[in-house]
Subunit: 351 residues, 2 copies
Amino acid sequence: MRLDIAVLGGDGIGPEVVAQSLKCLRSVEETFGHTFRFKKALIGAEAIDKKGTPLPDETLKICKNSDAILFGAIGMPKFDGNPNAKVWPEQGLLKLRKELDLFANIRPVKVFPALIKQSPLNKKLIKDTDLVIYRELSGGIYYGNKSIDSGTNVATDTCSYSEEEISRITHLAFKAAKNRRKKVTLVDKANVLETSRLWRRVLNSIAQSYPEIELETLFIDNAAVQMILNPSQFDVILTDNMFGDILSDQGSVLAGSIGLLPSASVGTEHAMFEPIHGSYPDAKDKNIANPVAAILSAGMLLQHFKLNEEADALVAAVLKSFSKKIVTPDIMGSSKYGTNYVGDFIADNIM
Amino acid sequence: MRLDIAVLGGDGIGPEVVAQSLKCLRSVEETFGHTFRFKKALIGAEAIDKKGTPLPDETLKICKNSDAILFGAIGMPKFDGNPNAKVWPEQGLLKLRKELDLFANIRPVKVFPALIKQSPLNKKLIKDTDLVIYRELSGGIYYGNKSIDSGTNVATDTCSYSEEEISRITHLAFKAAKNRRKKVTLVDKANVLETSRLWRRVLNSIAQSYPEIELETLFIDNAAVQMILNPSQFDVILTDNMFGDILSDQGSVLAGSIGLLPSASVGTEHAMFEPIHGSYPDAKDKNIANPVAAILSAGMLLQHFKLNEEADALVAAVLKSFSKKIVTPDIMGSSKYGTNYVGDFIADNIM
Ligand SMILES: CC(C)[C@H](C(=O)O)[C@@H](O)C(=O)O
Ligand SMILES: CC(C)[C@H](C(=O)O)[C@@H](O)C(=O)O
């Protein structure tokens, strides 16, 4: 297969972890005889510094003309500190998601047996965790009207959802559940939010077409507790943009490190693959960042193009790194292996 | 001291846990020579069934004429299931908070040494947890305009904050930090939300008047991770209504059971005291509900009226119940003690 892949390293540790994904994709290319063409582009803080905007037109064009996008991470503290700034890195990612209509962010959370000791949670509670979060990614309060009235000093954010926006991701989630344990949990705040009540109505109606799937609802506050106390109850979790952001980061605690979890953001025409972790500027260029989340994101890319054998080989190499304890210090404090070494090991073991 | 206290048991386990708080307040009354007058009133599902509304005028009047309110819990699954309902129990609580202008919800999260074994989390990580969440309670997306357009089927919720709304709770949080470890962490999503950016601006400006307090900011997704991985870094957490709802329930996991955590909701004229847990209709009338959250909420009521010796005596009785293992089954699966027995034990040991 021939694939054009846009590579957006972004800020902080983004470029160095994405470099490890590239090694792994190169290895897949050689081992399985594919042709992947990579094209790097600027986004985030570096793009602001060099081009004055977090998403240059050139970058958007490269992404639109690619078959898939590999994304690193975004965000820089020098921008967070200033709530009066007119431009900041995250706007680049948000605009990219919107422009490419990436409406579904898919975040699997698994507890790897070889790493279970690393989890801060009770082993018995988490050992059977195997869930996937479907987070709506191109709507909700992230993209609603925002305003600040300089006279009254009242700020406003708007959260809107249309039936269509809810329906398209719901179908993806139900289809995913069909191939899994056949349960969808809608997480919302229907006792407070009108949008949540629309989500419930749309799901209740769509559920009729999937009689084999069990549909359950849970309030977000309770879900945040259940995610820690009883994660194995979940199969597919479906939720809106804001709740999905919170819940999926929280889910990363189960796996033992946020440096382990990949994600895919898909739309009807485009697909982007990114670790769920942030840019951790403090870890930049120290060769300590965990590359596994980025590498597994490349694995989701392979799956997306139905290169299942290839994806399996990549995941097998990752599991081998775990069982051989070739892991970064976030997983094992005493570990002496760095980002590059772990990346090389995994790439070399894709076979 | 003479206090008129409105008692709103509410739904599910609400009435039975509040009954235990009343025992404890009666015991405080006798031991310390006060006069507490209790007046029960309807709210929630029972009020809907009997009066057609979750907050009858009579209840609101009783609350307004009281010095304080003891609240149980609210919510019933028969209402959650129907996103087309016109009326549901939670509306009663939300309206009450608004009518009484209870703008600050104060939720302390402590890990009790005697119970640390019960936590599903790594003991080392959580043992020094001692934080308090200041959740804005009368604004934000809970109270903004809501609409559903029946033509387009687009639902909308609005999140607004004024400088004044942010400022009043911020002063409470900074004052609380002064008497604690002198750190305030603002949890928000300033990389996405305009309201968060206003929160940051207002806090940055108010922080000038509290030079001894360290102000830190954290994105909600990261905060949800930090709350589990490193809770002892927090002293006072300040956040908006929605994020506070999620974060404080999540915080309850640290303590070992959501049945342990109390809260106070205060305004300039009124104050209400309620456990942070929900109504758990499945546990209703089974004599298994943990009364400690409700009892400690009564303790916060005593503190609110500067009855510190009394509050200390109540807390001491609770700690005694822990060390004698007189606890409900949520804390120790093998426990044979019920709601009433634990309530009696604590009330009898207030001295
Ligand atoms: C960087 C930020 C805007 C982003 C989000 O909130 O969506 C991130 O937290 C994520 O989850 O991908
Ligand atoms: C019952 C519900 C409306 C309420 C809230 O969301 O505020 C509850 O979860 C709480 O935290 O007190």
